[in-house]
Amino acid sequence: MRRAARLCVAAMPPETDAAPLVLEQLTRRFKIGKRVVVALDAVSATTAPGLVIGLIGPDGAGKTTLMRLIAGLLRADSGNIRVFGTDVAADPLKVQGMIAYMPQRFGLYEDLSVQENLDLYADLQGVAPEARAARYAELLHMTGLAAFTTRLAGKLSGGMKQKLGLACTLIQPPRLLLLDEPTVGVDPVSRRELWAIVDHLVRGQGMSVLLSTAYLDEAERCDEVLLLHEGKLIGAGKPSQFTQAMAGRSFQVRAANISKRALQGALSRLPGVTDAIIQGEAVRMVLDAGINPGIVGESGQADAVITPVPPRFEDRFIDLLKAKAAAMAIEPAPSAKPPAAARAPAAQPGTEIEVSHLLKRFGDFCAVDDISFTVARGEIFGLLGANGAGKSTTFRMLCGLLPATSGSLQVGSFNLRTAAATARGRLGYMAQKFSLYGDLSVLQNLRFFSAAYGLTGAKRNARIDWALREFELAPMRDATSRDLPLGFKQRMALACALMHEPDVLFLDEPTSGVDPLARREFWQRINALADSGVTVLVTTHFMDEAEYCDRLVIMGQGKVLAEGTSESLKSACRDATHPDPSMEDAFVALIEADSARSAAQVRAA
């Protein structure tokens, strides 16, 4: 008996017990144009089995490169990867037999039905025909796709596609599951459902998971976190370790006699303040280690109310980034100077945008269903909603790009339905993917956009000089835009949208995926613009961005579900289960109540 047991142990290959993933000094470079980008820079890590490991970092941090290296799709320049003890470079097919990988744009065949996609991946994963029925039933139930098996994958919503993708990778449960940004571009409701599947199927079956995300708030859902920034691993450990390091350093500051933006500006300039961002009506402040919150008094706000708040993962990320920047002796916090200082002082208050009973039909589908709201001059106004809620359609009508079916749309003194072209001259628009010409240099893009907005001669040169100066673009003026880092592209896109000094600025998901420092810098500029009287409209499904807005509407199925400040929306859904609801809780509660209502209507009918 004992002998048999010993034999058994000896026969077992040593890697069976090995860690799901061992990375050793992994480096990978890419050549982009003339620039060599180090996508991964000597990354080393070892993960424990049966855990959900979060690979966290902003766009361009190297997450996808790491996923592809592990999956054997790329080769490392140096260093090595072992998956359950097997070297990926030496035996990629063996590794591919142990893992399942869901790429960012998951490879669903859009012209195949849900069932046909499942069949294909079952064939590819070698699932025995007799085992399939039960597995399909389980996965379809889990993903809520049981009713849609005959529907073409291309006709599913974004969230459903993502869930089908996950189901396809899980037909044969792998030992290591790689998910590359499964929640990107997915609305909060679907995001929660995806996480529920990961929790249930994965944790329940002892699978090891590596999941990448740019959403820092998802870190806390992981068992362990690898924090990547610009190709370097800047932190690893349990999410609680990250937040514990920040214990006692996060506060909420309220001041009655000063605007939240002025307060945020004053606090972020204080020495000893790591971070200060607007959150609803208050400012969330993170202090350097060992600094007493009493320093708030030094900003001239002695009577400000300071409440300690629990630290967040993002606080630690900012802390690490700033420490890194300080170590490299580069300019620490991007203390953005108010870029719009050259503008006339704040315009007189009043209504800038008025939307009433706006309706847009496509055939018999009502994309925007009788919505009304007003935006005051100099206000930052948010349009929040899941994919397909009608926010893009509303946005296009507001920009004068799409005619409304009925209702009225007023921007300033212009009616967009009768004078769209004139009204458009007063609008600036920054598209989601920064619609810049990638082959042109920074300066050429600025020249082109200023000419497109009708600027000529000295005026045009003055604006180009202004953009190069205010947005700190001058050092890269001759660089090809395509090769620029994401944060830089974003600054440039904003500069282009502001060339003609618009009164109203439209931002379409302006900072999703941008690293948190660049995001702060961007919002500081936007705040300064709003203070100078520019009205800003933001569409987003990124909950953090909603917090920066003065007021917002939440849309669902073409209707306005709720309107108000982020604080009023949050407090409206406060109950026993959510004593301190987040913006996402409020959003999900509203969407779920709305779906329940329409389901009840369908039943009644």
């Binding site: 592809r68 999956a71 054997g72 799709l73 790329l74 080769r75 990629p92 097919l93 591919q96 037999g97 893992i99 399942a100 990988y101 869901m102 790429p103 960012q104 744009r105 998951f106 490879g107 669903l108 065949y109 859009e110 012209d111 195949l112 046909e116 069949d119 294909l120 991946y121 079952a122 064939d123 590819l124 994963q125 070698g126």
Partner: protein
């Protein structure tokens, strides 16, 4: 393990077939485009001159002149118009209302009667070289015919010592349609073989499905086989449709063996698929893949295969280049099978060349295809 391969192959081939059936663009490239090209070349484009507008100038009407010019009005190739003098015909020529004119001087009848060679002016619009050559040859031929018949009538001995009697082999009707349509089949099969295959694989890269496939247990062999099998069948289907249209709609004779035709088409299809697969390993978006496929396979099949332009009359360096165009060998086989029958001395070397090309391109595609992104 063996069962795993079959399961994966079956899954992939079924997926590919479903996609072909559901994708309007692959149906269009495989069936609509061939039908359009066949109809265009069958009905629209003709290299034969028919009803050529020909001016006739007879300065001095006579029985001899009338008898000579009657040959033009009786010919299906010409639509003659009379002009009173050369100047009027010249004007018409420069206005392009006629393609050329024949000018009989006032001394035509006299010289013929005297047994002298009369001067016959032939003016042609050189821009349309094809018609120009036709008119030139026809006038010469007509003159020889006419003078012979005149001599026969007169009972005199034949003044023309050698009677040239041209015989055209293999395409007795000298119909351009009969040699264009078989050649077109090669062009059409290039479309499904190389263009469509390169496009569908590029689409898989664009949509990210290739990345997902590569991380499964599927080997590169299996991915390639799963692409070759359905598109091979699709291409052979396109070929069958084309041959049917050629034979039954256009009445092109098919003198050779259908079996040899199928064999040659299979080899050519494999060579085309190999090129398509090779292109798809280089070009990972549909636009680039389409451009490369058209430049490297479709255009050569059109221009350098001998389908329209005779390879023998190309400059020597270009003739050398045609040897690497797979369509060249297939066009030779097709033209031989359709118009001359199964002529083994022509077919065998071409079949061997196709076999070599199929092996070369499929092999190169296999070597170039890696289960990696870099």
């Amino acid at each position: 393990m063996k069962a795993g391969i079959w399961m994966r192959l079956r899954g992939l081939i079924r997926k590919e077939s479903l996609q072909i059936l559901r994708d309007p663009s692959s149906i269009a490239i495989a069936f609509l485009l061939p039908a359009m090209l066949l109809l265009l070349f069958g009905y629209g484009v003709s290299l034969d001159a028919k009803h050529v507008a020909l001016g006739i100038v007879v300065e001095q009407p006579s029985a001899a002149a009338a008898s000579f010019t009657a040959q033009f009005s009786n010919s299906p190739y010409f639509a003659p118009q009379s002009f009173p003098n050369a100047a009027a015909a010249q004007t018409a020529l420069s206005h392009e209302t006629i393609d050329g004119f024949v000018w009989l001087r006032s001394d035509f009848a006299r010289r013929v009667a005297a047994g002298q060679d009369p001067d016959i002016g032939v003016y042609v619009d050189g821009i349309n070289a094809n018609n120009a050559r036709l008119i030139e040859n026809y006038v010469q031929q007509s003159w020889a015919d006419w003078i012979t018949s005149q001599a026969d009538l007169a009972g005199a001995s034949n003044p023309v010592p050698i009677n040239v009697e041209p015989r055209i082999w293999f395409n007795p009707a000298v119909s351009s349609r009969d040699y264009l349509v078989p050649g077109l089949i090669a062009v059409i099969m290039t479309l499904t073989g190389a263009l469509l295959t390169a496009l569908v694989i590029a689409r898989e890269w664009e949509r990210g499905t290739m990345e997902a496939l590569m991380v499964t247990r599927v080997s590169m062999h299996e991915i390639l086989i799963s692409k070759v099998v359905p598109y091979f069948l699709l291409g052979m289907g396109g070929m069958a449709v084309s041959v049917t249209i050629a034979v039954f709609l256009f009445g092109v004779p098919l003198l050779g063996s259908l079996l040899v035709l199928t064999l040659a088409a299979s080899l050519f299809m494999l060579a085309s698929l190999g090129m398509g697969l090779l292109i798809s390993t280089i070009a990972k978006n549909q636009f680039v893949a389409g451009q490369i496929a058209i430049i490297t396979t479709f255009l050569p099949a059109f221009i350098l295969s001998g389908f329209i332009f005779d390879i023998g009359s190309m400059p020597a360096p270009i003739q050398v280049i045609t040897h690497i165009v797979a369509a060249r060998y297939f066009v030779s086989i097709l033209q031989s099978l359709f118009l001359a029958g199964t002529v083994w001395p022509v077919i065998l070397p071409n079949l061997l060349a196709l076999l070599l090309m199929a092996v070369f391109f499929l092999g190169a595609a296999r070597l170039a295809a890696r289960k990696r992104l870099d």
